[in-house]
C-alpha cells in the first residue's frame, strides 16, 4: 500500500526550482534513503513532504490512512535548542500534541503511551532526566520516542547520525531496523552510505543535475549510485 506519492514535482523556494519532474512513492513498510550532495534540495524535499512548504508544481498525495501532521519527524539536532531545560518525559509527551484535545495537561493514556515509547527506545531509566544532559545518541532516541507519539506509521529522519560516534550510529541504525521490521515505514535523509547499503529498500538520489529514484539494487547499479560508492570508498 502506498503511503506517500509525489508526481511530477518541482521543488524549490522563492519561485526557484531546484528539482524538476520528481516522481517517487513510499509504500508501507518501506525503508527509503534520501541521499545527495549539499544544496541539492534535500531540505526542501523534507519540508515539502512534511507540508511545511508547497511544491512549486505537482502534488504530494498522502494515502493509506496517513494523515498530514502524522509523520513522525526527527529534525536535525542543530534545529533543537541544546540548553533547553526539559525532562525526557516532557519532550516525548510533546509528540502527541497533534492529537491532543484537552485544555489543561496530558491525559493518563497519553502519559502511558509516552512511557511505552520511551521504554521501546530503551530509555526508561532516563525518563525524568534532563534532556540537555543526554549524549547525542540518547537525544536521538528520545526524539525517536517523541516521533513515535505522533505516528504509528511513518518516521522521517533528517540526518540522524550527524555528530554521533560510529558505535552510537550503528546502535541507532539497528533500532531503526527493528522499528522498520515491526512495520513502521522509515524515510531518512543521510550522508552516510551505510544505511543506504545495509537497510534501505529504495533510494532517492538528489543532485544538481537530476534525480534518481529506484530500488537499492537499481541505484547501486546506476551511475549516481556508483559515484556515491566510490566517494564513500566502497567501490571495491
Amino acid at each position: 500500500m502506498i503511503l506517500i506519492e509525489g508526481k511530477n514535482l518541482t521543488l524549490g523556494y522563492e519561485g526557484q526550482g531546484i528539482i524538476t519532474g520528481l516522481t517517487f512513492s513510499v509504500s508501507e513498510g518501506d525503508y527509503l534513503c534520501i541521499v545527495g550532495e549539499n544544496g541539492s534540495g534535500k531540505s526542501t524535499f523534507v519540508k515539502t513532504v512534511l507540508g511545511l512548504v508547497e511544491p512549486l508544481k505537482g502534488t504530494i498525495i498522502l494515502s493509506g490512512g496517513l494523515k498530514k501532521n502524522a509523520i513522525g519527524y526527527l529534525p536535525q539536532l542543530s534545529d533543537i535548542q541544546r540548553d533547553f531545560p526539559s525532562s525526557v518525559m516532557e519532550v516525548v509527551l510533546s509528540g502527541c500534541l497533534n492529537r491532543h484535545h484537552r485544555l489543561f495537561g496530558y491525559s493518563a493514556e497519553e502519559k502511558a503511551r509516552a512511557r511505552e515509547a520511551i521504554c521501546r527506545m530503551g530509555m526508561e531509566e532516563y525518563r525524568n532526566k534532563s534532556f540537555q544532559e543526554l549524549s547525542g545518541g540518547q537525544m536521538r532516541r528520545v526524539l525517536l520516542a517523541r516521533a513515535l507519539m505522533a505516528t504509528e506509521k511513518i518516521l522521517f529522519l533528517d540526518e540522524p547520525v550527524t555528530g554521533l560516534d560510529p558505535g552510537a550510529a550503528s546502535e541507532l541504525y539497528s533500532l531503526l531496523r527493528r522499528l522498520n521490521e515491526s512495520g513502521i515505514t522509515v524515510m531518512m535523509v543521510t550522508h552516510d552510505i551505510h544505511p543506504a547499503l545495509n537497510d534501505a529498500r529504495t533510494i532517492l538520489h538528489l543532485s544538481h543535475n537530476g534525480w534518481f529514484f529506484g530500488t537499492k539494487e537499481e541505484y547501486f547499479a546506476s551511475d549516481p549510485g556508483q559515484t556515491f560508492l566510490k566517494e564513500a570508498g566502497h567501490d571495491r
Binding site: P75, I80, F84, P85, S86, S87, E90, L97, Q132, A147
Partner: protein, 267 residues
C-alpha cells in the same frame, strides 16, 4: 509593619497589582528568554515610554494610547528579529527612537508630566481603575499561558517538529507577542519603562540556573517573581526606598545566589 501596610488601601492595591503583574511576567519570561526574545521585552518597554509621552502630550488616557502602540510594536519587533540578521540592532534603533520621541513629547507637554514616574514607575499611585485593568490583563495572560502551556513549550523547544505535527507555531508566537505587550503596558506602571524588562527576564534567568525540567523552571520562575516582589515591596516600605528599584535589586541578589548554588552544585 505588615499590619501597617494592610491598613492603607493604596498599599494593598499596589501589592496585589504587583503580584499579578510579576506572576504573569515571570511565566512569559521563560518562553521569551528561551526563544532569545528577551531584548524584545526591553525594546517594547521603551516603545511604551514613547507612547506614554505622546499620551501626555495629547492629554489622552495613557492605556488607550499605549496598549495598541505596544501591541503593534510587538509584532513588528518579532518580525524584524526573526527575519533579519540585524534584528538586534533593529531593536536597539526602535528602542532609542521611541525613547527620544517620548522625551520630546514629555518636555513639550510641560511641567505637569511626571517624567520620573514614566521611567521608574509609581506603583503607589496606581488608581483603582488602573489596578482593575492590570489585574484583569494579568489574569488573562496567566490563563492563556496555562491553557496553551504545552503548545508554547513545543513551539519553543522545537519549532520544526511542532510545525510538522500541525501546531500553528506562528499563532503561538503571535500569542506570546500579544501577551508580552500587555504585560509590559501594565507593568510599566509599577517598575517604569526602564526596569520593567527585569520582571520578565530575571525570574526566568534565576529559574534556569536551578531547574532542569520545563515544568520546574516555570514554577521556580513564578515563585522567584512573587518572592522578589514581596521582599522588594516590604524593603522599600521599611527603608523608604524607591519601590521599583528595590524589587530589581532583590531580583539581582536572588540571581547571584542562584548562580552560586549552580556553581556549588556543579563541583
Amino acid at each position: 509593619m505588615i499590619g501597617e501596610i494592610f491598613s492603607y488601601s493604596f498599599l494593598v492595591r499596589a501589592l496585589f497589582v504587583g503580584l499579578f503583574v510579576s506572576l504573569s511576567a515571570s511565566l512569559l519570561g521563560v518562553s521569551l528568554v528561551l526563544r532569545r526574545f528577551s531584548m524584545i521585552g526591553d525594546g517594547l518597554s521603551h516603545v511604551g515610554f514613547g507612547a506614554l509621552g505622546i499620551s501626555a502630550l495629547l492629554a489622552a488616557e495613557p492605556m488607550v494610547v499605549t496598549i495598541p502602540v505596544v501591541i503593534i510594536s510587538a509584532f513588528v519587533l518579532l518580525r524584524v528579529s526573526g527575519k533579519s540578521r540585524n534584528g538586534d540592532s533593529a531593536i536597539a534603533l526602535i528602542s532609542s527612537s521611541a525613547l527620544a520621541v517620548g522625551v520630546i513629547a514629555v518636555s513639550v507637554a510641560g511641567v505637569n508630566t511626571d517624567l520620573n514616574s514614566f521611567l521608574f514607575g509609581s506603583i503607589l499611585s496606581v488608581s483603582r481603575s488602573d489596578g482593575i485593568v492590570a489585574a484583569v490583563l494579568s489574569v488573562i495572560t496567566i490563563l492563556s499561558y496555562l491553557m496553551f502551556y504545552h503548545q508554547i513549550y513545543a513551539t519553543t523547544f522545537d519549532p520544526a517538529f511542532a510545525k510538522a505535527t500541525g501546531i500553528n507555531t506562528g499563532r503561538y508566537t503571535a500569542l506570546l507577542a500579544l501577551l508580552t505587550a500587555l504585560v509590559i503596558v501594565v507593568g510599566m506602571r509599577i517598575l517604569g519603562s526602564l526596569l520593567i524588562s527585569s520582571l520578565i527576564i530575571f525570574p526566568a534567568a534565576v529559574a534556569m540556573k536551578l531547574g532542569r525540567t520545563y515544568l520546574s523552571v516555570s514554577i521556580i520562575s513564578a515563585l522567584e517573581a512573587v518572592l522578589a516582589f514581596v521582599l522588594g515591596f516590604f524593603l522599600s516600605y521599611a527603608f523608604s526606598l524607591p519601590t521599583g528599584a528595590s524589587i530589581v535589586v532583590v531580583h539581582m541578589v536572588l540571581y547571584v545566589s542562584a548562580s552560586a548554588v549552580k556553581f556549588v552544585r556543579k563541583r
